[in-house]
């Protein structure tokens, strides 16, 4: 009941404000803000008190860190990087061998014109990218470079290159073991390959357990890292560009931002397919062009210093000067942020890639290896170069503020554009994660319109919670859920590696023998 009253207190100003004249409005707004801040603090404390014990336990397990050269190294990052390295070696550097072929596949060179009308490789890749490219590319790089120095970029690129092999493995399996539902829809992802793939290998019980474990973490991750964290950080950036916490008229109005954002998300995810199509069709390319285009302009303006910038990156990667933890610190930060950014090994993107129509599962695996390349090797490096070029690194800033200052150093209006980009990145990431969460939800509770709507409503409520509250432990907990997905997923990938190898070997054998060849007219 107490929670209900607090929630009503949060919503009250919405109904009360229009009843007053303009003269009273300022006074009322100030009082309202005070009430809201007080209420928010109280709710924050209540939720934090309730969840802290569980949250702390989960976070300490998932993000268990060991001190390495004076810096904390979370073992989960090691788990992801080691897996990526093993996949790289096991598949014989597939990310380099098949890179050119991946581009041919995306271009449609091997697509059968008679299969036209289905999901193309390009579409599956673009949709998966809209979920992966997000705050990690903007704020994450800012953190990595602020803490690890320019050298962190080198390790981030290396982790991105290794992560390509993890993506390849999970997306091949995603297509191979996808489900076609009775109504014709396609459902795929780790839930399916863990349960079906491991059952094939005589480990049905373990597979089912992993699939359920993965689905639970995926729901937690969708509500947290894929939702609350995104809403929270995009609001923070809005406050930053409008003057910061002390000056910004938006400060303290996270709840209002959250309600607006939740309504937009609700219109899209509950409103139906057409509205999603219209929104994402506009948002995704616009977002990418805006951010990458801006970064590219700054890089081109400083092209003369490109050699110097790379000498900073490579020098910093190996020399222990001037940054916390030295070269090892740079390595840890680089690996960590790359893992946060491209989600390779987490299993999320396998859900998006599963829908592609292909006779050969490994084709989608090959296409998906472009994802960490675009996300981490290209976009994160561009962010890093802008930060290094503009000299913003010495300002003591970190995270999204550092990236914002770097863009602002070149063009004063760019932080505003960046705020818009952050908002759009966060929005598209939220849409993707709402779908990942939904698939995990329906895997656990079954298909059905009502069940789906229950999840969608919960998802929208969490947008408001994420934007309006500080909720450190809650966000930590839900963020750790995303990484918890990697535990069953990677064990499953290890066990199913031979299946992927068989798939890819027979695919390349078919190409070599001419059984699969480029289509005429492409």
């Amino acid at each position: 009941m107490r929670k209900l009253l607090l929630a009503l207190a949060l919503l009250l100003p919405l109904f009360a404000l229009p009843a007053f004249g303009q003269d009273d409005a300022a006074e009322v707004a100030a009082e309202t803000q005070e009430v809201v801040e007080e209420t928010t603090r109280t709710v924050d404390m209540m939720v934090n008190d309730a969840i802290s014990p569980i949250s702390n336990a989960v976070v300490s397990v998932i993000f268990y860190s060991v001190p390495v050269a004076g810096t904390d190294f979370p073992l989960i990052v090691g788990w992801l990087v080691v897996a990526a390295t093993i996949f790289t070696l096991y598949f014989g550097f597939i990310q380099f061998r098949a890179f050119g072929h991946a581009i041919e596949l995306v271009r449609g060179d091997y697509s059968d014109p008679n299969d036209a009308g289905e999901v193309s490789h390009f579409q599956a890749l673009a949709t998966a990218l809209s979920g992966t490219v997000g705050l990690g590319n903007i704020a994450g790089v800012g953190v990595a470079i602020a803490v690890g120095g320019p050298g962190a970029t080198f390790w981030m690129i290396l982790a991105g290159l290794l992560g390509m092999a993890s993506k390849f493995t999970e997306c091949t399996l995603g297509v191979k073991y996808r489900n076609e539902l009775p109504d014709g829809r396609v459902s795929g992802g780790p839930m399916y390959y863990l349960s079906k793939g491991l059952a094939e290998r005589g480990m049905a019980g373990l597979g089912k357990f992993f699939a359920v474990f993965f689905a639970i973490c995926c729901i937690g991750g969708a509500l947290g890292g894929g939702n609350m964290f995104q809403a929270n950080q995009s609001f923070q950036q809005l406050v930053n560009v409008t003057g910061g916490n002390d000056v910004s008229p938006l400060a303290g109005f996270g709840w209002l931002f959250g309600i607006v954002m939740a309504l937009v998300v609700a219109v899209v995810i509950i409103g139906g397919i057409k509205s999603i199509a219209r929104v994402t069709e506009k948002v995704v390319p616009f977002m990418g062009i805006l951010y990458v285009g801006t970064a590219l302009i700054i890089i081109l303006m400083n092209i003369g210093s490109i050699g110097w910038a790379f000498s900073q990156i490579i020098g910093g990667a190996f020399s222990p000067e001037g940054v916390a933890g030295g070269a090892i610190g740079a390595l840890i930060q680089g690996f960590r942020r790359a893992a946060f950014s491209n989600e390779a090994g987490i299993g999320s993107a396998a859900i998006a890639h599963s829908a592609v129509r292909t006779k050969e599962p490994s084709t989608e695996g090959i296409v998906s290896l472009l994802e960490p390349f675009i996300d981490t090797v290209v976009i994160c490096t561009m962010t890093a170069l802008v930060i290094i070029f503009t000299g913003a690194l010495g300002t003591g800033l970190t995270g999204v503020e550092l990236t914002s200052a770097a863009f602002g150093a070149q063009f004063s209006f760019f932080p505003y554009l960046l705020a818009l980009a952050v908002l759009l990145f966060a929005f598209s990431t939220m849409l993707s994660w709402s779908y990942y969460g939904l698939k995990a939800w329906t895997y656990l509770f079954g298909e059905g319109k009502t069940k789906e709507n229950v999840f969608k409503i919960i998802f929208c409520v969490f947008v408001v919670i994420g934007a309006s509250m500080s909720l450190g432990p809650v966000i930590d907990f839900s963020d750790s859920m995303i990484f918890a997905m990697a535990l069953p997923n990677i064990i499953g990938l290890y066990l199913l590696m031979p299946v992927v190898r068989r798939e890819v070997n027979q695919y390349f054998a078919k190409i070599k023998s001419g059984e699969i060849r480029k289509m005429k007219g492409h």
Binding site: V119, F122, T127, G184, V186, I273, A277, R357
Partner: protein, 143 residues
């Protein structure tokens, strides 16, 4: 071998008029009438997650709907003694119709003028403009 007349058919009144004209000419000349229904689709458009999952289902539905549009018309002309074939394809209508005309050695293409109000069509040209520019055989645009 008889001549082939290609008709761009999408179930609209304008495409019906084009088909009627082509059918009349085919009857007198003994040509084969080939109705082509193109479902506009690009492999490079952006899809949402839900659309990805539902795309296969939608495609099946689109094919059934398209067949329901083109089959009765083909049957009608068939009953009039005109040899009529039909096909449903995915892609850009102008490119597909021009490609079919070229690969089948057709004598002529018939399309209806839609009178599009869309600004993009007016600026960039719609199907008829595309066909006039790229087709390798004569194009008859029926008002």
């Amino acid at each position: 071998m008889s001549d082939i007349y290609i008709v761009g058919f999408d179930g609209t009144e304008a495409s019906g008029r084009a088909a009627d004209l082509a059918a009349g000419l085919a009857k007198t000349s003994g040509a084969t009438l080939h109705l082509v229904l193109v479902l506009e689709w690009s492999p490079y458009s952006f899809l949402s997650q839900e659309e990805l999952a539902e795309r296969h289902k939608r495609r099946e539905e689109e094919l059934v709907r398209a067949a329901a549009v083109v089959e009765p018309v083909a049957a009608k002309y068939g009953a009039m003694g005109i040899t009529t074939t039909h096909e449903v394809r995915y892609g850009h209508a102008g490119e597909i119709i021009a490609e079919i005309a070229s690969s089948s050695g057709a004598k002529q293409i018939f399309v209806g003028r839609q009178g599009s109000r869309k600004l993009t069509d007016r600026l960039l040209g719609g199907l008829t403009m595309a066909l006039v520019q790229i087709a390798t055989v004569p194009v008859t645009v029926v008002p």
